[in-house]
């Protein structure tokens, strides 16, 4: 377990982020945006209780420059994470699609095999597709593969490579089949490695969380004579930041939660 992950588990119990991503999308939105806004507004009210309006207004003059500096840093981090998470989600979709298309092509190329081998291959392929959809999908949330799927994959390839081409026509079909195998192996590897930088992501999440908390707390020390204006502006800024965080959270978990990529193409292959 990486240090940031251990730290998070210590703070939030058993894998807070893992628990959160499996909740309904509305609840995630409520917890991230709602929770963040309560923190922001609560802090503003607290600061106004302990400091006078004049003190808060005088903070604003100096604080503005520092706040703007913080804004630049925050933007750099959030832009980087958003693009990275967006790529991860789009790549995950592409790898799933490539693997399914490769399996479809491979299925077509076994037509030259003896009928018994064809049946064995179809059974093995369906078993693999079913195991990916049912056992590997939940495990990919944590960047792992399923031993069941791994074994099924080996069995499927074993059946395919057991075919011994005897004439030119057979060899020709096998050549195309080998290209399809390469497509499937590459797509499967990419799909499984898509979450491999998990420790790095957790570290990024901790950094981002820290930045959001600092930004929210910075807001507390600014003031105007109108508390309502202060609260409304704080909510507006907070809502903007927190909706971006909500989006990043969903994008960075392509195989979990309500917004996850579904294993439907694999289930269709298994039918």
């Amino acid at each position: 377990m990486s240090q940031p992950e251990a730290l998070l588990k210590d703070i939030f119990g058993q894998g807070y982020f893992q628990w959160l991503i499996h909740q309904p999308m509305e609840l995630i939105l409520l917890m991230i945006v709602g929770g963040g806004l309560v923190f922001i507004v609560g802090g503003v009210l607290l600061a106004n209780n302990y400091m006078t309006a004049e003190e808060l207004i005088s903070n604003t003059l100096v604080g503005t420059f520092k706040f703007m500096f913080l804004a630049q840093i925050f933007t750099g981090v959030i832009a980087f994470i958003m693009v990275e998470a967006g790529n991860r989600y789009a790549n995950a979709e592409a790898y799933v699609d490539a693997e399914v298309r490769g399996l479809q092509l491979l299925t077509k190329t076994v037509s030259r095999m003896p009928l018994e081998n064809q049946t064995r291959f179809h059974d093995a392929m369906k078993e693999y597709a079913k195991s990916v959809a049912e056992t590997e999908w939940p495990m990919m949330v944590t960047g792992d593969d399923s031993p069941v799927s791994r074994a099924a994959f080996r069995r499927m390839l074993g059946v395919y490579f057991s075919f011994n081409p005897t004439d030119t026509a057979d060899r020709s079909v096998v050549a195309l089949g080998n290209l399809a195998v390469a497509m499937v192996v590459e797509a499967r590897t990419n799909r499984l490695n898509n979450n491999v930088s998990k420790e790095f992501s957790d570290f990024i999440w901790v950094s981002l969380l820290g930045l959001v908390i600092i930004t929210a707390m910075f807001n507390w020390f600014f003031g105007t004579r109108s508390l309502l204006s202060q609260v409304v502006m704080g909510i507006s800024l907070g809502a903007s930041i927190l909706t971006c965080i909500f989006l990043v959270f969903l994008l960075s978990n392509p195989f979990a939660g309500d917004a996850a990529i579904r294993p439907t193409p694999f289930l269709e292959l298994a039918e």
Partner: protein, 272 residues
């Protein structure tokens, strides 16, 4: 394709609005989006000027200015994300379309050298597939999906190709070469369809719309002794914001509207 002939059924409301905007001529789409934003801004500024105390609004400027500038940075990051994402999708869609057409053309050329009776059937299937992509899939891709008719056509091509068994070493060698063109065409087809896949587009655009609303309304709460000055600056800002949002919408719909990618490479394949 004319805007009226693009089917909008089967999409969620957000995707429908976005596609409808994307298929309009640029002048109309941009006019509606920017004009709408400007109208809302004018209404908001005017209402606040009439209803709120000007001195209180001016007092907001110092704190509000800092928060508004921070919000601008976050909003800029969000817009940069949708622009970069849209730009990548647009470039990938165009690149994969060209790769697919050139791979199919190479496949066609290579297959024409085969001494097999199925040769002409395979070549006809390539053309039938290209024709289906132009006629059917360019419409489906606007809705973010592949065309079932094109999927049937490509499967038919693969079936014919796999069934064509070479009898001589020469044919086997030619087919070995053709295999790589077929798989390249299939990969390019997958990339092309992936480039328009909706993914979390609806959620992303809801968040963009929400943040656009925040960015526009936030400036209403600033005070300025001059109503015209306040109004002019806000209108200019809204125009800039809506222009970027419209650009992002167009980039995220690479097969729709005036800036749509043309099926020219497939026309060229059919004409060859």
């Amino acid at each position: 394709m004319t805007p009226a002939s693009v089917p909008l059924n089967g999409l969620d409301p957000v995707a429908t609005i976005l596609l409808w905007l994307a298929v309009q001529p640029v002048g109309v789409g941009a006019g509606l989006l920017i004009g709408g934003g400007v109208l809302i801004t004018v209404a908001g500024i005017t209402a606040l000027t009439l209803l709120a105390d000007r001195a209180t609004l001016i007092e907001n400027n110092l704190v509000g200015g800092a928060k508004f500038a921070f919000l601008a940075q976050v909003f800029a990051a969000l817009l940069a994300f949708v622009l970069v994402d849209g730009g990548i999708r647009y470039t990938n869609a165009r690149g994969s379309l060209q790769s697919e057409a050139s791979a199919l053309r190479l496949l066609d050329e290579t297959v024409s050298e085969l001494g097999l009776s199925a040769r002409e059937d395979i070549r006809a299937a390539i053309r039938a597939y290209a024709d289906t992509v132009i006629r059917s899939e360019f419409i489906s891709m606007q809705q973010g999906r592949e065309s079932p008719t094109a999927a049937v056509a490509i499967n038919h091509l693969i079936d014919l190709y796999v069934a064509a068994a070479p009898a001589t070493n020469r044919d086997a060698m030619i087919k070995l070469q053709a295999d790589s063109f077929l798989t390249r065409a299939l990969s390019a087809r997958a990339d092309r369809i992936n480039a328009v896949r909706p993914g979390l587009k609806t959620l992303i655009w809801v968040i963009v719309a929400f943040n656009t609303g925040l960015a526009i309304t936030f400036s209403w709460f600033f005070g300025n002794p001059s109503y015209i000055g306040q109004l002019s600056m806000s209108v200019l800002l809204t125009t800039a914001i809506m222009t970027v949002v419209y650009t992002a919408i167009l980039l995220n719909h690479p097969f729709s509207g005036d800036l749509a990618i043309s099926p020219q490479p497939f026309h060229f394949l059919l004409g060859h």
